[in-house]
Symmetry: C2
Subunit: 309 residues, 2 copies
């Protein structure tokens, strides 16, 4: 069995070594043009050239949670595209989102600015009942994030394409319920997969409906930059309709140095690090799935290319 | 039944009104010198003069979690001193501590400094197994905080005066186990009551034992300023033995404008707001306890003056 590793922006060597240790009987190489065909590939944003040279690929393993970049390629019809299930990402996502939420809710930016001036100043505590959080996307990551938020006693709403029931969550499903979900939420957390149906979903129309249309909504985007219509955000912040945004993902990454998001006082920018891929856990998971596929068993995380996730 | 409200640094009127609504049959007044004796008092840092004028006091209700200031007064021997049980404070404490912990662990200060310069920069993610958190004090607040931290998959140690067993926590008890507890913890969260036994417990000797004595410990103090030997902290930070500290409480409050903690780059200062008293919840709780005491029933949160909490 031959496994090829083809990663962009990430060194392949540690992955090759880790996979060799996990699957000692397989022939595992980093990809280079002209290399022989593989049975499985472990990839991040591979070029179409790579895919074109692998017509017999059985499994295509993405080392992140989102497979949108992969599905824009022309893939062999028999290839199973497999996402990472969790592999240490959901706890990081829960951390990131809870940090951003608490920071906003508790006004720690205000307290830090006062502290820089040596001022012992208070604000009236806010009521958490006024800060309902809406989580878009209730997959492995979304459910974990919603659970973490609920532990801090915020009201939590969830929205997903197909109906779900999650304990402690007020669940909304489908397009028909989307406006009600937005209206009932003041802080919006985006964990949707990027598909044709969700591209640009964070736009002026939808973001203006947060918090029953009253000013004060807050956006946390940890999914994909293309979910947000970037040109819509700053007017909503400058008019006061939105109180702020924490953004980890952008239309163009790295975010260009002259992009206005960097220095806008109501925007917190982080460099697509809300949930980093944990190599060891990911390798263990991918190796287990390759073994299962070779035994003819079904595996979790297989992507439906039509649905897009 | 007569109830007197005697608060410093807080307006008594909303408390008087709230208690009148909750206990319509009682005579409830804000204290002024010369006022008649009360059966119960609702207080924050009352003067000795007030106590001296209340020899028949049955219940003395503190509107915060820590009763150290109250126990420094000379109290009538029959008076029960009663703490607030929780009243919305533990969730705030969990928020505050988790925010400080995640901020440190995820190096968000670094990312914010880079973002201010428009730089898309990464650090290698830290391993949470290397960031065991030690929670000192396992009362209502400590247990809740420990549980919240555990949800983010950090190893959590707990230390208390008397042995406790809390699910998900490695529990240490008593002085004999204190050094082991410190060594096994990298981030130290202080939620102890302030007593003669705990005053100055956050000193150079003890803080140097964090993280098996290796550099990199981190302090989060949300209990009382007098737990920390303030003069010991900055040398530990400047030598690199401690990586940083988040402090909500201080020996002198408000923290004087020229205090070096305000502007030290490794110290985050907040103005004693980690858990604010929630008036409505507190009034409901105090009213319930006054009714119980009047019926001759035991109530939760009665302080043992010898133990100090």
């Amino acid at each position: 069995m031959r496994i090829t590793v083809c990663l962009t922006q990430t060194r392949p060597e540690p992955w090759v070594e880790g996979l060799r240790a996990a699957l000692p009987d397989a022939d595992i190489q980093a990809w280079e043009p002209g290399a022989p065909q593989a049975d499985h590939a472990v990839v991040w944003a591979p070029p179409q050239d790579f895919i074109d040279a692998q017509p017999g690929l059985r499994g295509l393993f993405n080392i992140g949670a989102g497979v949108d970049a992969l599905l824009q390629l022309k893939l062999p019809p028999e290839t199973q595209v497999v996402r990472l299930d969790d592999a240490g990402m959901s706890v990081q996502m829960a951390e990131y989102v809870c940090h951003a939420l608490i920071r906003h809710f508790r006004e720690f930016d205000f307290y830090e600015a006062e502290a820089r001036e040596g001022r012992w100043a208070f604000r009236k505590p806010r009521e958490r009942a006024d800060f309902a959080v809406g989580v878009m996307g209730l997959g492995v990551l979304g459910e974990r994030v919603a659970r973490a938020i609920g532990q801090f006693e915020f009201p939590v709403n969830g929205w997903s394409r197909s109906p779900k029931a999650v304990e402690g969550l007020r669940c909304f499903a489908g397009e028909a319920a989307f406006d009600d979900f937005l209206g009932a939420s003041r802080v919006l957390v985006n964990l949707l997969p990027l598909t044709e149906a969700t591209r640009g979903i964070l736009n002026s129309r939808n973001l203006s409906r947060l918090n029953q249309g009253e000013p004060g909504g807050y956006l946390i985007n940890v999914a994909r930059g293309a979910h947000l219509v970037e040109a819509d955000l700053i007017p909503l912040l400058d008019s006061g309709q939105l109180a702020g945004a924490t953004l980890d993902v952008f239309e163009v990454e790295p975010l260009p140095a002259d992009h206005p998001f960097w220095r806008h006082p109501k925007i917190t920018v982080t460099p697509h690090g809300s949930a980093r891929t944990m190599r060891e856990a990911s390798i263990a998971q991918i190796a287990g799935k390759i073994r299962a596929i070779e035994r003819g068993e079904p595996v979790a995380g297989v992507v439906d290319p039509k649905r897009g996730y």
